[in-house]
Symmetry: C2
Subunit: 153 residues, 2 copies
DNA sequence: TCTGAAATTGAGAAGCAATCGCAAAACAGG
DNA sequence: CCTGTTTTGCGATTGCTTCTCAATTTCAGA
């Protein structure tokens, strides 16, 4: 939670800069949410944050979390991840290399993968269609080795 | 709506086969929903279907639509598409080549693209991770030429 | 340090897509 | 025409997310 001091500092700075640029304030609630979001090194959803905050006796309302997470996304610190689940999940992107996901439909395990060739082909596709990409969503759903071993097709 | 008679017949057959295989009945409601889903050649959502049915004086309850669309997905006739919108969209896949989407964040336009090289690289990625793919979600979000021309970044 | 405009928060209400429960209806096979 | 099963429709319900608005906090300038 307190390791990687340098990058953690810059996360705070980056968020602060984003907020300031847009005439918003860096409140203590937003700081708490930022810290909590980066305390885990896994994907998380709103309820995970809420639970974690309650465990640490920090009180931030659900509404504020729902309001703050999109700010963290826009500031380039988080990214939305789409399970087949209903609700939105998030993961860190700041300080992490870009990657996409293999998601197991049985156990929910998430395997990260990155493929530069795919990325460059993607850029080419966009160029062909005169399309200016902003972000993408690339998830392969299926079954991991363990679950296939257990007979899940 | 009545063109492509051959493929339309096989859609019905394919759905009928799927239902029978799973001990389900091919009711007239399910047939109406199937026909309606394939009447459009665009992406659609539940409300689109409802509106269309009402316009044609066909009465199928919302619940039945919600129950039937997943069956059409499982039978291999439809595919879910994820806008950045909240609710689920669907598109035909039966009789169409596989493709993915470029989605304009401003006007919502959807451009289809298919890239065999990306597909094969994807298979390779799965092999490397001993992952058995079932389906994927690959959407590139950004701005189309027209919207960039109009100053949308 | 004090002041006031502007932004933010919290708590609950509201929205809304999707799901559920159950009685009535439709089916299929005998 | 019975009989057991599946399906439908309706309304109610769920569960995530957003909204409303009064109260609070923040920050720049006095």
């Amino acid at each position: 939670m307190k390791n990687e001091r340098q990058t953690e500092e810059s996360q705070v700075e980056k968020f602060a800069r984003y907020l300031q640029t847009n005439g918003m304030k860096f409140t203590k609630e937003r700081r708490i949410i930022l810290e909590s979001a980066f305390a885990t090194h896994r994907h998380f959803e709103v309820d995970d944050l809420l639970f974690q905050l309650r465990s640490n006796n920090k009180r931030v309302s659900k509404a504020t979390i729902y309001r703050t997470l999109p700010l963290l996304v826009r500031s380039g610190l988080l990214r939305e991840v789409h399970d087949d689940d209903k609700h939105t999940h998030y993961e860190h992107i700041y300080g992490h290399e870009h990657h996409d996901h293999l998601i197991c439909l049985n156990c929910g395990k998430i395997i990260e993968f990155g493929n530069p060739i795919i990325e460059s082909l993607q850029d080419e596709v966009c160029k062909q269609h005169e399309f200016t990409p902003v972000k993408h969503r690339y998830e392969i759903l299926g079954y991991c080795r363990e679950c296939v071993g257990k007979g899940h097709p």
